[in-house]
């Protein structure tokens, strides 16, 4: 088991209104297995980013526990945590914001070697190899983020993440701001890289179609809860929850979902197994 979430909650204070909380993540149980890519889908505002950041330990959970390789990071001191962090990396949605604009690509990538004893030559070699793996020219090292297109920047962000040798790579809407063709290329790239780098993906998106190729498993999120979870093929063939059905038909007909439904869940509502690892909320 790579990651295991049990009853995880994260509430934010609503801006402006006192005593009102936004239940961004409201009791999530989730398991990510080594090598089994998980797609996390749901419309905007359903809590996907917050869930990703909880796993990244950028936020502290308000309740529940998150185990990474069986270890609860919340129980560690920040000194103990820092060296572990490299195991979970992230690629963000906004390629224009995810690389420090003042850093050359060499400086961006070189930061991944901090704390490792590698000679300059070895570092240089690894950076060049990695750039080649993500389909960029080694000339890129001397250039700055603003000289690259959005798709190229995402490739650089992926290169940076993979240089950390992560176990889990969280891609938070990583292709959502790219045009369809470029997005498809990045998905292909991610598939190619997976075997070589022994990494598992948590692919967060609002677009079901994007995850079909990459993920073995899909979890559908709404109002801070997982409402349905199944193997990708099962979910596409037999969506059980009406929200999933709407997401699916929207994705297949290239339109945005019609119902912007927010489902209310009681404290007791749980995921029910429909066999073959297909869970749906009741």
């Amino acid at each position: 088991m790579l990651v295991e979430l049990r009853g995880v909650k994260k509430h934010f204070a609503a801006v402006g209104a006192q005593n009102k909380v936004i239940k961004a993540v409201d009791g999530v149980d989730l398991v990510i297995k080594q090598g089994e890519n998980l797609g996390l889908v749901g419309e905007s505002g359903s809590g996907k980013t917050t869930l990703g950041r909880l796993i990244l330990k950028l936020y502290d959970a308000d309740a529940g526990s998150i185990l990474f390789e069986g270890q609860d990071w919340a129980k560690l001191s920040s000194r103990e945590l820092r060296p572990l962090r490299r195991k979970v990396q992230v690629v963000f949605q906004d390629p224009y914001n995810s690389l420090d604009p003042r850093f050359s690509i060499r400086a961006v990538l070189a930061e991944t070697f901090l704390g490792q004893k590698l000679t300059k030559a070895a570092q240089e070699q690894r950076m060049k190899d990695m750039l080649k793996s993500v389909g960029l020219d080694e000339q890129a090292l001397n250039r700055f983020p603003h000289e690259f297109s959005g798709g190229e920047r995402q490739r650089i962000a992926i290169a940076r993440s993979l240089l950390m040798n992560p176990k889990l790579l969280i891609l938070d809407e990583a292709v959502s701001s790219l045009d369809v063709l470029i997005a498809a290329q990045i998905i292909e790239l991610l598939k190619d890289l997976q075997a070589q780098y022994q990494v598992t993906y948590l692919f967060i998106t609002h677009n079901l179609r994007v995850v079909k190729k990459l993920c073995q498993k899909i979890a559908v999120m709404n109002s801070g809860r997982i409402i349905e979870m199944a193997k990708t093929d099962d979910l596409f063939q037999q969506p059980l929850h009406p929200y999933t059905q709407e997401l699916l038909s929207a994705a297949l007909s290239y339109r945005s979902p019609k119902v912007e439904t927010v489902y209310q869940f009681g404290e007791k509502s749980v995921l029910i197994d429909h066999g073959n690892g297909h869970f749906v909320v009741k």
Partner: protein, 353 residues
Amino acid sequence: MKNRAWSQFCENRWAVAGLIILGIIHAAALFADFLAPYSFSNEERTYSYAPPSKIHFRDEQGSLVPPFVYGAEIKFDEYRRRIYQDKADEKYPLSFFVQGDKYKILGLVPTTIHLFGVKEPGRIYLWGADSRGRDLFSRLLHGARISLSIGILGVAISFSIGLLVGGIAGYYGGKTDDIIMRICEMFMMFPGFYLLLALRAVVPPNFNSIQVYLAIVVILSFIGWASLARVIRGMCLSLREREFVLAAKTMGLSDLRIIIRHILPHTLSYSLIAVMLSIPGYILAESSLSLIGLGIQDPYASWGNLLAEAMGIVQIKFAPWILLPGFFIFITVMCFNVVGDALRDVLDPKTSQ
């Protein structure tokens, strides 16, 4: 992008003029011992309040000769005030690269060469003399060294503190932020000048000049860091949410590294503006301390203690040139403000009106 900002800056003629004047003043301060004909303590008491020397280019017959000054004939009026008259038979040619008081170029190479001067016993007072017959021009140059360096050193120290403290408060947020900000507010609560006086009173009276100089730098930095820390903190609060900062965090970089390498550099243009706009405050603070006799002590010169000579109306009336230090303080402060404002227009169009 940097080039565009620069060319935009150059369009503002006042700012360019200000920058050039500041450049000249600072260069003059740097090479003060060479440019000044005398050292700061070279005095000749018979020349008390000697007026600016006239440099003559023509002799009595009206033909062009190398520049020279006349020796002075000193008489007293009925109030025993000195009256200076040229002695027609005593001429001292003005020469360049002459021997004079000993000094070290930039504090390193010992030499006695000065840019210009006249042979002893002649004296040249380009901008007049003070009560003890010291050359005001020389003392202004030496004073510029102290006044300007106090400003720059003070700003450098208080900005290092302000950046780091503001960075830490903004990056961590929460309790850390609360505590640090309350401390900042405590510093900002006191009116600056009274705090300055109070802190100065803490400094032992038997300090020598260098110690007093350092004490003033420390005191000024101590007062100045808080306001910068507050603004930097505000910027860091939003910078820490930027995705490249979050990425750096997930990479396990240390907090200090994230603050220094990824957050503070993005406050640079603001800091530059703030530096430009706050240096005048430091120069003025040093001048006010020295003016009231709590700062740099005679025989050392600073613009403030030079101006202290101009506190009597009689002196101003008969030796108006002793007001010159005030003029230099004014020009320098104006230039820093003009340049700072122009930088703000260029680098930070949002906050400039």
